[in-house]
């Protein structure tokens, strides 16, 4: 799996709207059975297609987020969209 680290830039942290947007994007991207995991550290990753799982991370503003995905994934496009979501107020 490939991993990347992104920082959350949103005063409210990773709240419902960005979490829902991430989950939706993951479901859209992973239609071919690819998997995306997300977490505060590599040893604590959850399924990024579930809003509830993402919210359970309780990620706060300024914290780093580890994203892990299969090689099959179109990483760059996904990461660009993810950056937009994480910095949206």
């Amino acid at each position: 799996m490939i991993t990347r680290v992104l920082r959350v830039d949103n005063e409210q942290g990773l709240h419902a709207r960005p979490a829902a947007a991430i989950a939706k994007m993951v479901s859209d991207y992973s239609s071919q059975g690819s998997k995306v995991l997300i977490g505060k550290s590599e040893d604590n990753l959850v399924d990024a297609s579930s809003v509830l799982e993402i919210l359970s991370l309780k990620v706060k503003n300024g914290e780093d987020l580890v994203i892990a995905f299969d090689e099959t994934f179109e990483v760059e496009g996904f990461l660009d969209s993810l950056r937009v979501i994480l910095s949206k107020k």
Binding site: A20, S50, L52, L55, K58
Partner: protein, 528 residues
Amino acid sequence: MSSAKVIFEGQGIGELVASGKAFVIKDNGVFVEKKKSALTQTAESARLARAITQVEENLNQAICQTSAETKEILGALQALLLDTKLQTGLKLSIEAGWSSESAVSKVFADYADLFSEMGDLKEDFLDLGRQIQAALSGSAELLIPTGDSVVIVAKNLSPLQMVKLGENVVGVILLESGPTSHTAIICRQKGIATLVGAAGLLTSMKSGDELTVDAISGKAYLGPPIAYSISETARRKIGEPLTKLRLNIGAMSDLKSLSQENIDGIGLVRTEMFFLGAIGEPDSVEQTQVYETILRLAPQGKVVFRTFDSSEDKALTFIDSKNHESLWNSSQYWEIIDQQLSCLALAQKRVGREVSVMAPMIESATQAEQFVRKAKAHGIHSAGVMVELPSLSLEIPKLEGKVDFLSIGTNDLAKYLFGLDRENFSSSNLLTPWHPELLSRVKLIVEGANSIGIEVAICGEAAADPLLGVVFAGMGIDVLSMARLSIPRAVAYLSSVTVDQAKEIARQALEQSDAEAAKAVTQESLGS
């Protein structure tokens, strides 16, 4: 009022007093149930799936009818509802033999802890669970008792929920929401005594208690209404009302059982309200039928249709309303208006009664002229514009010979003059129509209209306040347009003073340094 215990205080909407049985909409957790299913596992999961689909559809419908930001919030709720983990949890509970209700209460309670530090989100999440449970019991909508008069007490209600309230809802107390929010406007429109931004505790009464909402003094108390010392009919009538009075309407029911007395037609048909539930642009057959019906039912006098207005909290799906102010810069809006004008012209022809049209959110004299020319090209000969943007308010003399009438929208005018958010009740001090800056702006518009010899009306919420009505009459306004239930009070006040007295009252109000003083001095002059 001395003997009644006041339990809520807020900003009154509607100039009305009403009482009924309290119906409290508390948002306190999922209804807990622990019951084994009486159905087969397959039947039980199908039952739950149906309920979830129903909630999803309700959300979808709401998403279609709201603005971009609300859409995003509802979209997030929908994602939570359909979340794979949540669904798995529900499935496991059903497999363990629990009823759908029990599965929902268990799974939502488990996950609710996740949201403990996330404020409103926990409530929103639990509310999803409540909605599923309501759908399971066959009652997805607000379960408001029918029959007896009801006063609803809630944190807030959406415009859509408001639109759907039954006729027995006579009062509404909202802990949130602002005086010029669309929820508040719909309350006034429906003749519901309303308090917004109300301070008080939901626990200070329970559903079924008799509750009186006094929107005039901004208070609610337990028990039946206590009479005022000066009743509206007790005012001494010295002549005819100083201005023409017209109706604002937003639903066919506003035209039911009207007494024609003192009503000079309709000053504002909020056309968009007739198509609130519509997904996509209403087709021309449907539009023409609605306009025809209005023309046939309307009391004698002018009938002024305002073309579709769209803003943040009453967005129409067919108008991209992200930029409320620049409606007229969108070619899509011009196309929609073109079709609307042709439907109005057709209705005019079929009924054989003259239609008047006016355009909302006009920015400049040039734009006003453009609209009027378009209306006339369709065969609508009486065409005017709303003055609700400060930019247009400065250009009134330029409208000479170009528009047939003006109508002032005080809410939007205040909003744009002071740069405020209509939903934001903490800015209520500036949003009151009594603000001297707003009053003098209205005076400027009225004087401009009088100097170029065209009719000028006020159809904003301020027109319904009888005290302000006298002030406006004193400024030289020709028409006040308001919800039906506000008319008797307006008539009583506007017939109790002479033109000269009204002029003096207006002069005094304009001289004051703040809204409170302006209101107080008017109250004193009118002895109320």
